[in-house]
């Protein structure tokens, strides 16, 4: 009868795969450590899981001001504003690098330490795991009945033959075997088979750790060799992917303007549709930017339907549709009747909703004085108590409200200005109250200074161009890490030992087995069926 015993203990010795091998045991203050000793101690501390977790936490904590305070790179205007509203606090925050967190030395220090810590943790672990995956199973213990699972039965086969049959059966099940060989000092009376299975667990563990390193390297690759850029594009116009045509350009460490893909994009048409009824009224239902593009100068023109989450892949970069708005078209004639401005001017929607947008029209070429207008574009205008409001984001009843100025725009001094802001310090207001215009209507400026006509409006889109060479490797490594983790969770290492001892005229066969108990069950059944199979194989051979 196969005798399966309950486990007494888990003697699965695992010196080959310690989780945190005695790192904190050695106290540097205890012994006389030289410089090398201190360095070694420091390195061991840095690469400990504890420090890695602390660094990870610090990294997360350090990113918090980056999302709460305006940042130089993305919102320089916001930083200026913060300076004006918090004149005492702002310089201190600036000293701490809190307006440019992701470029601050302390942030880089955390990141690099974390990187070193992870590399220092993962690389030695990888070597250990690789070693562990190569090792042969241990020699069969003397008394197999002490193992968590065991069975014992007699057979008439000779011990050597019984061991041979067991080895064949176990090899057939994909076990890695060890037999008494030259290392045996017990002579010829030893007949046993050690078998181990589940090395895939170590392979999975190895894969997970290597893939983790791969993710880190991929992220670094993206940061060093990738770039991000933004561009606002008015319907009917085009731009080329060159630094001077981009509104914002954030190159990686090793990226120069030369690395930009030489493509050109034209926005042929942009449509936004909105839900017109119900409590979702005014919510967008679709955005659709139809563009044509050439991948390089002189190349064939192709068309593409750009949508949110449907970027245009071109020349290794991806072009995303990230925003849209209205660009009212103005035509300005000056005192001499000459057209000095005739273009769509992008207005930027504020927080008030429904695309109530603000912008400025700067006419530095007007004579005798430069002209400037601050304006509000209201797509669907209604007047509530003398205040213009937009009640719907689509341009159903478009109106612009303008205040006219004349004087010096400050452009000729050579100091760069934002195209969305106007410095009225050197100007005087021409109209006392905001003047409302509908498409086609004109505003005559006093004293024959000229005329401004609101001829219509066109949509604009804002595009984000990103090139991240680390994206695909990071995805692959991420999937590999997940696969490795799953393997190491699902596969258990398990060992089966068979010993054949001469007893009287026949042989006693002992089978013992053990598995890691921390993973999913099922070894009991596996062992029982193996034991049964071994037994039947032995009795089959008895008959031959």
């Amino acid at each position: 009868m196969t005798d399966v015993r309950a486990p007494e203990a888990d003697p699965f010795e695992s010196p080959a795969e310690p989780d945190e091998p005695g790192r904190a045991h050695r106290d540097p203050a205890g012994g006389a450590l030289g410089l090398a000793g201190w360095l070694k101690w420091g390195w061991r501390q840095l690469t400990s899981m504890r420090i890695a977790l602390v660094l990870l936490f610090l990294l997360a904590l350090g990113s918090v001001p980056g999302s709460m305070l305006p940042q130089e790179g993305t919102d320089p205007g916001g930083v200026q504003q913060y300076y004006t509203s918090h004149p005492a606090l702002a310089p201190w925050l600036n000293h701490l690098g809190l307006f440019n967190v992701f470029a601050a030395p302390w942030f880089a220090a955390i990141y690099l330490l974390l990187f070193a810590s992870l590399v220092g943790c993962v690389v030695p672990r990888t070597f250990r795991l690789a070693g562990s995956a190569r090792t042969l199973p241990p020699r069969a213990p003397r008394n197999l009945t002490r193992l968590p699972r065991s069975a014992e039965y007699p057979t008439t086969l000779a011990p050597a033959e019984a061991a041979e049959v067991a080895a064949t059966v176990l090899a057939g099940h994909g076990f890695r075997l060890r037999r008494p060989g030259s290392d045996s000092n017990h002579g010829d009376d030893e007949h046993w088979v050690s078998a181990e299975k589940g090395y895939l667990r170590e392979a999975g563990n190895l894969l997970f750790h290597l893939a983790l390193l791969g993710v880190l390297v991929s992220v670094a690759l993206g940061g060093l060799f990738g770039y991000k850029a933004d561009r606002l594009l008015v319907q009917g116009t085009s731009f080329s992917d060159t630094q001077s045509a981009l509104d914002e350009f954030y190159p990686g460490r090793f990226v120069t303007a030369h690395d930009l893909g030489p493509f050109t994009i034209t926005l042929n048409r942009f449509d936004a549709s909105y839900i017109t009824s119900g409590n979702q009224r005014g919510q967008p239902s679709s955005f659709d930017a139809r563009v044509s593009y050439t991948a390089q100068p002189g190349g064939p023109a192709r068309t593409f339907d750009l949508q949110v989450n449907r970027p245009l892949p071109v020349d290794g970069a991806k072009v995303y549709l990230i925003g849209h708005g209205y660009a009212p078209v103005f035509k300005v004639t000056d005192s001499r009747g000459q057209v000095v401005y005739d273009q769509a001017t992008p207005f930027i929607s504020g927080t008030s909703g429904n695309f109530l947008s603000q912008g400025v029209v700067k006419v530095p070429g007007a004579q005798p004085e430069q002209l400037g207008f601050t304006g509000v574009f209201v797509p669907t205008a209604i007047e509530v108590g003398g205040v213009l409001e937009s009640v719907f984001p689509a341009a159903d009843n478009p109106v612009v409200s303008l205040i006219a100025y004349a004087g010096n725009l400050g452009l000729n001094s050579g100091v760069t200005q934002s195209v969305y802001e106007m410095n009225t310090a050197g100007m005087h207001q021409l109209t006392s109250a905001p003047q409302l215009l509908q498409p086609g209507q004109s505003l005559k400026l006093p004293d024959g200074q000229g005329t401004i006509t609101f001829t219509g409006y066109v949509p604009w889109v804002s595009l984000a161009i990103t090139h991240d060479p680390g994206q695909l490797p990071a995805l692959i490594c991420g999937l590999a890490a997940l696969g490795g983790l799953l393997l190491s969770f699902m596969v258990r290492r398990r060992r089966v030992f068979v010993r054949a001892r001469a007893s009287g005229p026949g042989t006693t066969v002992q089978i013992g087995g053990l598995a890691r108990t921390d993973a999913s069950g099922g070894f009991e059944d596996e062992f029982a069926s193996l034991a049964a199979e071994l037994r039947s194989a032995h009795s089959q051979h008895e008959g031959e």
Partner: protein, 194 residues
Amino acid sequence: MLKSRRRPVFVAAAVCAAAALAVVLLTGLAGGGNNGVTHVAGSNSAVLYPAGHRPAAPDFTATTLTGSKLAFSAYRGQVVVVNFWGSWCAPCRQEAPVLAVTAQQYRPDGVSFLGVDVRDDTASALAFTRQFGVPYPSISDSGSTITLDFTAVVPIAGTPTTLVIDRTGHIAGAVFGTATQQELTDILAQVMHS
């Protein structure tokens, strides 16, 4: 135990050191190789390309602000000053009088000037040329395609940028940023006598 751990620790340290070395080397390589480009005396933004290392200017045809066709190849055999500008660009407005004066001054020597009007509308651009009395033509480059062609050979980061092209159609000098009369005179002196 300690002995068996020592090897992986040092391997890890070595990997880190190698990575750091690679970063340093890459940084060094990225910054190297200037091909003998020299700066005009007293200027950070004006450069001269030595003969033999002058990048060939791209050829293009475009429409001028006044609506006529212009082929850049028609300038071959002359020294041409190409200025990238926009009416919205404040430094360009500061620079415009200098360019107008220099263009008049070098006209007898056969030096041509050509403007490339970037990201602009024609009405504003023409108002600019009237206002500053710009004596030379400008082509419209609202989509920055001509800028893109030039960026393939010289690092144009924005407006204003001024390129001086020699008689063989090669870029001999450049001012990245607002050009002064001194910088233009220095570059032109080199280019006209070579």
